[in-house]
Symmetry: C2
Subunit: 181 residues, 2 copies
DNA sequence: TCCTATTATGCAACTTGTTGCATAATGGGT
DNA sequence: ACCCATTATGCAACAAGTTGCATAATAGGA
């Protein structure tokens, strides 16, 4: 499970509150690991119980906003977890199941859906390219920046793959297409 | 959720029992959608309750093996589900979280793990190439075969991407490497 | 024949993630 | 002053997948 460690990473980058974390999970971190506000609040509480983070300004000025900060034990745990070795998770994609179903029960509307996915992946790709242009076009490359760029490149590669694959799939599904299988 | 429909697809390809399904989920179908025997037995029962499959030879010759067969309602449901439209699931990869953690807490043992992953992905890639050679080297292309080939190609593309990415990541992580950040 | 490994089935408890709803507080418009 | 949209936090129930264990039956070897 990655959520606690994703939270630790985000809080090390900058201490903040649950709702701010939720916002950040809709952007950068969330491109590769999503979490709802529910998961975040639940997990922050757990991290606090474990002594990995601590809440600042428990009931501060306006609102009830509570910022969290990583404690040394949390930083140590993050380091341990990051260096741990794991098996690569196998692929798991519903689209593949649906393509195999198509193969068995003949033509369906699947091609329409894949056309729509193609659009979604093209959008993501454009977004990632824009971010790359904005954040990584100059050549200043600290280790930190190189690693963040690397993660973005994974997104670029993955979306490119999906765009290619959707096009291939559409070609196959349309070949003996809507009219004459 | 794809499991019930993955099971329907597998049972349409060939009716069989829970344990046989588990075996098939370790091979072909399981390359893209994994399931434990627990999930399979639990789900088969549910599919039977829904009237989508029916059990043959309820307590046949040897063992207690019970083969399941898809009913017309199950076939209809599979068709409906296959044509349904969905949002593309966003990327979700623990490795990206760990790379971002690396960026924040400085050098860790992560590069060792990525080297090991590289090996795993190279193995998968070799396996998929072998399957492609064995099953798809002649040019006889029915719609069914083309679709199955397409799914395999997704696996080939994905593993190729991972191999490339692991090599890139190792390069970045080793650059200011173990000795001198 | 008996022992054991393998195959086949299943329950129960747990983890992770999702959904729907509830509540509190603030700030801006009227 | 009052209403209301927004922000921030949280509970409870559910859904999906995992893990550990249990049980039955048969096949094959000692």
């Amino acid at each position: 499970m990655s959520l606690p460690h994703a939270l630790l990473t985000a809080l090390l980058e900058r201490p903040c509150s649950g709702s701010e974390l939720a916002g950040r999970f809709d952007r950068s971190i969330g491109f590769f690991w999503q979490a709802t506000h529910q998961q975040i609040y639940r997990e922050l509480k757990r991290l606090e119980d474990l002594g990995w983070v601590t809440a600042l300004e428990p009931e501060a000025g306006r609102g009830r906003k509570r910022a969290y900060q990583v404690l040394p034990a949390g930083r140590e745990e993050l380091r341990r977890w990051t260096g741990e070795s794991r098996e690569a998770k196998p692929l798991r994609d519903e689209l593949m199941v649906r393509l195999r179903a198509e193969a068995v029960i003949g033509p369906t509307d699947l091609v329409r859906d894949i056309e729509s996915r193609l659009g979604q992946h093209l959008e993501k790709l454009a977004l990632y390219r824009e971010i790359e242009r904005r954040d990584f076009s100059d050549g200043a490359d600290s280790r930190q920046r190189e690693l963040r760029h690397l993660v973005l490149q994974a997104g670029l590669m993955a979306e490119t793959l999906w765009v290619d694959f959707c096009r291939q799939a559409i070609a196959v599904l349309s070949a003996d297409g809507p009219g004459n299988p």
